[in-house]
Each structure stands twice: as structure tokens, then as C-alpha cells.
């Protein structure tokens, strides 16, 4: 019976939340495919508040450790093991991105809207070329 209650709560309250989750996965998928130029990118998400349900797609496989990942989505780099800090990292907090020299970019909320930025320095160091539709998100 308790399972029924849980299912009811999930259905009734989270119908929009699951749409929201899908959109976040799609955003990560878009970003991953333009950065990595791989058919399928391994992504590690440590910020549970940002993404609750990690469902693999054609372009993304969610992994359980940062060591296995091509791209890491985390709240703060300082919480990552040292061997993972050289990977491509997207922070979910603007403060963490600003504090770190090695963050590739950030997806975060600001002034009531989701924002996306990529570090121009990191893009240059890694020799990545972003398509035109992403150029406006480069943080000079």
C-alpha cells in the first residue's frame, strides 16, 4: 500500500519534474557531443540536486565514478579526487566555476534563469572548436 502512495505522489507531483529531468539530460547530451566529438560520451554527475534520474541515451552513458567519465558535472571541483580534476568539468554553481582555474564551464541559475558558460581559456588549451550556436556562451 505504501508503494501505491509513493507511486501516486510521483505521478501526481512529478509529471513536470520528469520532463525537467529529460531536458537536463538533453542539455548535457548537446554539450557533450559538441565538446567530445564522440558518438557516445561517458558522463559522471555528482550533483544529485541537479539531476536526480540518470537515464542513458544514444549519446550519453552515465557512469558511477569520475575516473571512468569523459565529462564530469559537479557542484564544486574541490570535492573531486585529484585524478579527476584534469577532465572536462562543468560546475553547477557559478562561484565554484569562478574559483577554479580548471573548470571547463558551468551550467547554473542566475537571475531566475538557467545560464551556460564555457571558459575561453579551457577551450583554447584543449583545442576545442565550438559551433556557432555555442559561441555566445563563451566566457571571455
Amino acid at each position: 500500500m505504501k508503494k501505491i502512495v509513493i507511486i501516486l505522489i510521483i505521478l501526481f507531483v512529478n509529471s513536470l519534474a520528469s520532463d525537467l529531468n529529460k531536458i537536463k539530460v538533453e542539455i548535457i547530451s548537446q554539450i557533450s557531443s559538441v565538446i567530445m566529438k564522440k558518438e557516445r560520451v561517458k558522463v559522471f554527475v555528482s550533483d544529485r540536486k541537479f539531476l536526480k534520474l540518470k537515464k542513458d541515451t544514444k549519446k550519453i552513458k552515465f557512469v558511477n565514478t569520475c575516473q571512468d567519465a569523459d565529462i564530469i558535472v559537479c557542484k564544486d571541483i574541490k570535492n573531486l579526487p585529484k585524478e579527476c580534476r584534469n577532465k572536462i568539468i562543468l560546475c553547477t554553481r557559478y562561484r565554484s566555476y569562478k574559483r577554479s582555474d580548471s573548470a571547463f564551464g558551468a551550467i547554473f541559475w542566475q537571475k531566475g534563469r538557467p545560464n551556460l558558460i564555457f571558459s575561453a581559456k579551457s577551450i583554447k588549451e584543449r583545442g576545442i572548436r565550438l559551433p556557432n550556436s555555442f559561441r555566445k556562451y563563451i566566457d571571455e
Binding site: 513536470l16 531536458i23 542566475q110 538557467p114
Partner: protein
């Protein structure tokens, strides 16, 4: 509307509808914003019929005051009273009889203890610290409101984890209006905060009665701050300013001085357990107001014991102090297929005239100056199956009045059924509620008459069906409301109406989200009123609605909205065209141009005053309810 005006309307709406090459990532980010905005509100769908203005909506509208949103709510005709304050219930000489709109900022009800009307306080005050707005119609559940109301407006403040920025904004408008704000809001490791300051000088359209200028200007300074972590939230607000009170009490509408200075201070502490099943809060607010009036005619009279048994006065000084404190405890219990919410509330209101000087006479203090309210409520949801919910709630209130005013008991109950699938939603509610007289009514009745006032009663049956198909949402709402023992002022005292007015209301709404374009909203409503056999104007019909378009093209955001309201058989009709264009120069700077009542064709109100000595009735015809105003503004994020 004439040809030119029709063309203007069409041009504003369709000039923004250019197709735009929006990259997929841009579209995904806008969808992320929209879905996240909406996911904040879904948990309270069972509380009533819900209208939402998301953060994106408020930003594109560059909303300056709450009345801009209230104008969009079905069945409500926005209005302003003879003091120039927002009052949807305004009717000549029927002051503060009943306010069917309650306003909340987060969990705090904004209410003036004496008048019982929070909308008068907030209708024209700034909203720069508000993130989104939820409007619950059809007598919302007791989880949301202490005192019964027909419409609850919940304003939710900006939160640190969605702001993470500092913003400065300033704007100028016609007639020398200025509005400047600054805020900082951020999410830290263990807590988040918002700190907001605003200064507004609102110069309204003056109205003239012969050579007398009737001003509705308002000036306010507003500080709002909050700090919260996972379990606690502390809020603080201070507002001070002054307002010019339009007609005031002047019998011939000839005020030479008519101004109110005010101070409002509030603080509140809110606690929520980790699993959100237990909540507690305590808050306190105090409001000081000083109203000074002088009329070149007369303001009123005081009965005296010697011939001619009355004394006329032309000057008035009122200093009022109002205190309000609430304590609220609620516990949610989940078991099997059921969720039961139990709540206990206590409210303390005090309203003391420090000075009430009419002419040269200092009026004695009234023994009626305090009201305590205790409330116990139960709100139950039973999950019949995965699609259906049955809800039932009951609330018991005891009003402890002071002085010679008798106490009141009030009972309210609500039964509801909710059916929800991905495509279809149905909500139906049956409600009965007692509405006690406001302290304002009890105070003056205590002076004017020995007669008792009965509480008002509302019975409501309502239902809404919603159909969702991809990005298109349609809903149809129907309701019938009975008002028994409605309170009115007959010129000598307050009384209860013998008739029972009946209101039948219908509303159709459509929201259409168009990919890579934006959103179109449409609403049409009808209200049919049977005011009872003793009313010579027994049957009335009003209809209204709006069409709004929100869209973005490149660096431009457009908002266009046409609202209309028509009272059948009268001249009380109006079309209100509002438009806002925002240009985002870069990530940090944006400029906007905002126009209100651009066609100068919105609804108008006729005011009048009656001089009992001369029996002359002075009328102010066709006073604009909405000023025609153009704003030019800038926002800078740093």
C-alpha cells in the same frame, strides 16, 4: 475601438511574431527555465483553481505592481477606492465591508488588522523581490489561508539558489515617476539569502474637481531581507512612505490637504522538518499610519448633546497603530492511501487610534481595539487510485473580540474530487464558509448602533476541466456562489442583506506554448449576478478576458496583452493594452520600454459624495482606474 486603435493593437501583437533561427541549445535552456518554473507550483494543484505567473512571465512583463496581475484574474474587476487604494470591492460608502482577496508573501498573510484588506497595502507597491505568483481561486484549501477568502494570491520571493547575483535597476515613467532598486541574492554552502532595497516615487494621473487637484501619488521605500537554510527561514521587511488620498472624506470633494504617512515593519521565523511533514512559524508586524485631512468644504459631523445636536468638522487627524502576530503549527500524517494535515493557528490583532481628532475634538478611545483568532483545521486527501483523489477539510475558528463587541465562531468546510491523467484533469469542490465582519465594520458599528452584525456565509459549487495536448492546455471552469447575510452600510449603520445574491461564473482559458516562438494565453469569462428581489437592478452580467503574447526574437523580448471588461447594460467597459519590449544588450545589461493602458481606453470608475447639509451630490465621472503610463528602464547585473 476605432480603426487606428485596432491597427495599433494588431501591429503590437504581430510585429513581434518574426520567425527566428533559435539554436537547439537556446531552446533547451528556455524549456529548462519554463519547466523548472512550473515544477515549483505543482504540489498545490489540489488547493484550488490555480493561475500561475512564472518568473519568466514577470520578467517579460517587467511587472511594477500587483494590480497588473490582478487585472488578469477572471471575475475580478480591479478598482480603486476613494482614498486611491487598490480595492476590488469598492462601492461608494461601503468601506472595508469584505475583502475577497487575500495576499501572502511566502507564508505571511499581508493584512491590515483594522480594515482586513491586504490588497489595499500591496496593490501598488513594488514587486522587484518577487520570483513568481500563484493565484488560487474558488475558496482555496485551509492549508493556504487562515481567514476565509475567495481568492488567495501568493507571492513567492526570489531565492538565492536561483539568483546568485546582484542586480541594480532604475526606471523613469511619465509624470516624473521613478523607481530604483538593488538586490543581492546568493546561495552559499549551508544557507542562502536575499537582500532587497527599493525606492519608488509613483506620480499618478491627477484628477480635478473644479480647481481641486485630487492626487493619488504614492512614495515608498522598501527593504526586504531573508536568510534560510534547509530547516529555517527568517524574513524581515520595512516599508515607509506616504500617499495622497485622492478624494478623502470631503463631502464636496474639495480637499486641500489629504495625506497619509506610514511605517510598516515585519519579521518572521519559519521552521520545517527535514521531511517537510512538520512546520511551525511565528511572525509579528506593526503598522503606523498618520492621516491628515483638511477640506475647504466639510469632512463630517459629530453628534453632540446640545442644539443643533451635531458639530461639523473640516479637519481631521488620525494616528493609527496596528499590530499583527501569527503563530502556526502544522503536521502532515501519511498512512496507507491517505494524507492528513492537521493545523493549529493563533492570530492576534490590535488596532489603536493614538489620536482621532475631528475638528477640535479629540475623540475618546474605543474599548474595541483587539481581536484574537484561534483556528483548528483538518485537511485530508484520500487516494482512490492512481488517478483520483478525494479531499475533505474542515476549519473551526473562534474570534475573541474586545470591549463590548461580541465574539464570533466560524466554521468552514470543503469537499473536493480531483481526477488527473496526462491529458485530462478534473477538479470539483463544494464549499461552505463563514466570513466574520472586519474589525473596521465592528469598530464603527460599535459607535453607530447597538445592533449586532451577523457573519456572512458563502456556499460555493465549482468544477474545472483541463485538457492538455502537447504544448496546448485548455481549461473550462464553472461555479455558482451564494452569499448569505452580506454586510452593507445603509448610511446610518451596518446591516445584513435580506436577499441572498447568487453569482454564476464561467471561464475558458487556453495556454499555447509554441516551440521557438513563445507563449500565447487567452482567457474569456462571464459572471451572471442575481442580486435578489429587493434590488431594483437585480440581474447583472459582466464579461471580460485577455489575450497575452510572450515571445523572444534574438536579443529582444516582447510582451503584449489586451485585457477587456464589459458590464452589460452600462458604460462600464474598457480595453487595456499593455506592452513591454526588452533589449538584452549583453548578459549583464538590459533596457526596456513598457507601456500601460496605451490606448487610454481601460475601465473607468465614477465616484460621488453626498453633502447631507446641502443635499448636493458631487460626482467625479470617468476616472481612469489604470493610468496611461510609459516606462523606460535599465537593469544591470554585477
Amino acid at each position: 475601438m476605432g480603426v487606428f486603435r485596432s491597427f495599433t493593437v494588431l501591429f503590437l501583437f504581430f510585429s513581434s511574431m518574426f520567425s527566428s533561427e533559435v539554436g537547439n541549445i537556446d531552446y533547451l535552456l528556455s524549456q529548462y527555465a519554463q519547466k523548472d518554473d512550473l515544477s515549483l507550483q505543482t504540489k498545490k494543484e489540489s488547493a484550488g483553481y490555480l493561475y500561475i505567473f512564472t518568473r519568466a512571465d514577470l520578467d517579460m512583463m517587467h511587472v511594477k505592481s500587483l494590480y497588473e496581475l490582478v487585472e488578469k484574474v477572471p471575475f475580478i474587476r480591479y478598482n480603486e477606492n476613494s482614498a486611491g487604494l487598490s480595492d476590488t470591492n469598492y462601492s461608494p460608502y461601503q468601506n472595508n465591508v469584505f475583502s475577497h482577496i487575500k495576499i501572502y508573501i511566502n507564508e505571511k498573510e499581508m493584512i491590515a488588522p483594522f480594515s482586513g484588506n491586504g490588497f489595499q497595502l500591496l496593490g501598488q507597491i513594488d514587486m522587484g523581490y518577487i520570483d513568481h505568483v500563484e493565484i488560487y481561486m474558488g475558496i482555496p484549501s485551509f492549508e493556504i489561508g487562515t481567514e476565509t477568502s475567495l481568492t488567495i494570491i501568493k507571492l513567492y520571493t526570489k531565492k538565492g539558489d536561483r539568483e546568485n547575483t546582484s542586480v541594480f535597476g532604475t526606471s523613469f515613467a511619465t509624470r516624473g515617476t521613478t523607481d530604483t532598486f538593488v538586490y543581492k541574492s546568493e546561495s552559499m554552502d549551508d544557507f542562502s539569502y536575499l537582500f532587497y532595497l527599493n525606492s519608488r516615487n509613483l506620480n499618478r494621473e491627477p484628477v480635478y474637481n473644479n480647481s481641486y487637484k485630487l492626487s493619488k501619488d504614492k512614495n515608498s521605500n522598501d527593504l526586504y531581507a531573508e536568510i534560510e537554510n534547509n530547516n529555517y527561514r527568517f524574513e524581515l521587511q520595512c516599508v515607509n512612505g506616504y500617499m495622497n488620498n485622492f478624494m478623502g472624506e470631503s463631502w464636496d470633494i474639495t480637499p486641500s490637504v489629504n495625506k497619509t504617512d506610514f511605517w510598516y515593519i515585519y519579521s518572521g521565523l519559519y521552521y520545517s522538518s527535514d521531511d517537510r511533514t512538520f512546520k511551525m512559524s511565528l511572525n509579528y508586524a506593526v503598522n503606523f499610519s498618520k492621516n491628515v485631512q483638511h477640506s475647504d468644504g466639510h469632512l463630517g459631523y459629530i453628534p453632540i448633546s446640545v442644539p443643533p445636536f451635531y458639530m461639523i468638522y473640516d479637519d481631521m487627524l488620525l494616528k493609527l497603530r496596528e499590530d499583527l502576530s501569527d503563530i502556526d503549527i502544522k503536521k502532515s500524517i501519511e498512512s496507507e492511501k491517505n494524507t492528513l494535515l492537521i493545523g493549529l493557528r493563533g492570530r492576534y490583532k490590535k488596532f489603536v487610534f493614538k489620536d482621532r481628532i475631528l475638528g477640535s475634538v479629540s475623540m475618546p478611545k474605543n474599548s474595541y481595539d483587539t481581536e484574537y483568532i484561534s483556528s483548528l483545521y483538518f485537511d485530508d486527501k484520500y487516494y482512490i487510485n492512481e488517478k483520483s483523489i478525494l479531499t475533505g477539510s474542515v476549519k473551526f475558528d473562534k474570534y475573541f473580540e474586545s470591549g463590548s463587541v461580541r465574539d464570533y465562531r466560524a466554521v468552514s468546510g470543503r469537499l473536493g474530487y480531483i481526477y488527473n491523467t496526462k491529458e485530462i484533469g478534473i477538479k470539483s469542490f463544494l464549499f461552505y464558509g463563514d466570513i466574520t465582519p472586519t474589525p473596521y465594520v465592528l469598530y464603527y458599528q460599535n459607535i453607530l448602533s447597538p445592533n449586532d452584525i451577523k457573519k456572512q456565509k458563502v456556499i460555493s459549487i465549482s468544477s474545472e476541466i483541463t485538457y492538455r495536448r502537447e504544448e496546448n492546455i485548455f481549461s473550462f471552469l464553472i461555479a455558482r456562489n451564494y452569499y448569505k447575510d452580506a454586510i452593507y452600510f445603509n448610511g446610518l449603520e451596518y446591516k445584513n442583506l435580506d436577499d441572498t445574491p447568487i453569482y454564476d461564473t464561467f471561464s475558458f482559458r487556453n495556454t499555447y506554448n509554441i516551440k521557438q516562438f513563445g507563449k500565447i494565453e487567452f482567457n474569456f469569462w462571464i459572471a451572471l449576478m442575481d442580486l435578489g428581489k429587493n434590488n431594483k437592478d437585480r440581474y447583472r452580467e459582466t464579461h471580460g478576458g485577455y489575450l497575452s503574447v510572450f515571445n523572444s526574437v534574438g536579443r529582444f523580448d516582447f510582451y503584449n496583452s489586451l485585457s477587456f471588461i464589459c458590464n452589460h447594460g452600462s458604460d462600464d467597459n474598457g480595453y487595456n493594452l499593455n506592452s513591454t519590449i526588452t533589449y538584452r544588450y549583453n548578459k549583464d545589461i538590459s533596457f526596456y520600454l513598457k507601456g500601460e493602458n496605451l490606448l487610454n481606453d481601460a475601465i473607468e470608475t465614477t465616484y460621488y459624495r453626498y453633502n447631507p447639509l446641502t443635499t448636493v451630490k458631487t460626482t467625479l465621472d470617468n476616472v481612469n482606474v489604470f493610468d496611461r503610463r510609459v516606462w523606460l528602464g535599465l537593469e544591470y547585473q554585477f
